[in-house]
Symmetry: C2
Subunit: 109 residues, 2 copies
DNA sequence: GCCACTACTCAGCGCTACTATGTACTGGTA
DNA sequence: TACCAGTACATAGTAGCGCTGAGTAGTGGC
């Protein structure tokens, strides 16, 4: 992946995953596959699992273990109330940044 | 500053500064002041100077030392050809990310 | 028996922004 | 004269996040 993208994903990848989880519980492997289908082709598996561990530790998601037909049991993550609040703050922060950048891109300064 | 913003600035702050520098040579103190006027009220001075050192080392800017009426001499940075190319790539990367996020925000998935 | 696919884990690294502090010059003021 | 605010730059150390690379484990097909 481009170095620029790697740096830019810091902070935003978490928001992307939280947004995906909204009303849509999912497990790690599934999330990785979805990200890749969205064009984030080079997101490493390890990155996603580490992110999931982190948001679980931070209490933004609830986790449920479910047996899989193929392979090891899945850890299904769903957004909880704290996660929703965190996601809202994420959108606020993102909105601010996106607005600034859009201004910079179109008019310059 | 919020932790979210801190993380989200990674990668984008450099682009913001490069964009500001386009056709508008400036020095560190001035850039810091401008960023604060744009709402990035908590950007630390040290952060900007470190960033300027980095982009100079990476050959994205040319530097000229000019005496100041008040205080130490200024280091005036201006975007060079490599910097412009880098900025273009930044906009491409940003554009991709912004599009994905805008989709996520409006429709959800 | 081997390989591909599913599914999760973890140690170590690189990069960027932040914290905190220091240097140095000018001008006002008490 | 001493002090302080404002201008201007520099830097060592820290935290956080995504990446690399490797490993473990279960299922099914050839």
């Amino acid at each position: 992946m481009g170095k620029q993208m790697t740096e830019m994903l810091k902070g935003t990848l978490e928001g992307i995953v939280l947004a995906f989880l909204t009303g849509n519980p999912a497990y790690g492997y599934e999330i990785t596959a979805w990200l890749r289908s969205q064009g984030f082709t080079d997101i490493a598996e390890g990155t996603v699992y580490a992110l999931l561990v982190r948001i679980e530790k931070n209490g933004l998601v609830d986790v449920e273990k479910r047996p899989s037909e193929k392979g090891p049991p899945r850890k299904v993550y769903s957004l909880n109330a704290d996660g929703e609040k965190h996601l809202e703050e994420f959108w606020t922060t993102w909105g601010f940044l996106a607005e600034r950048l859009e201004n910079l891109r179109t008019e310059g300064k």
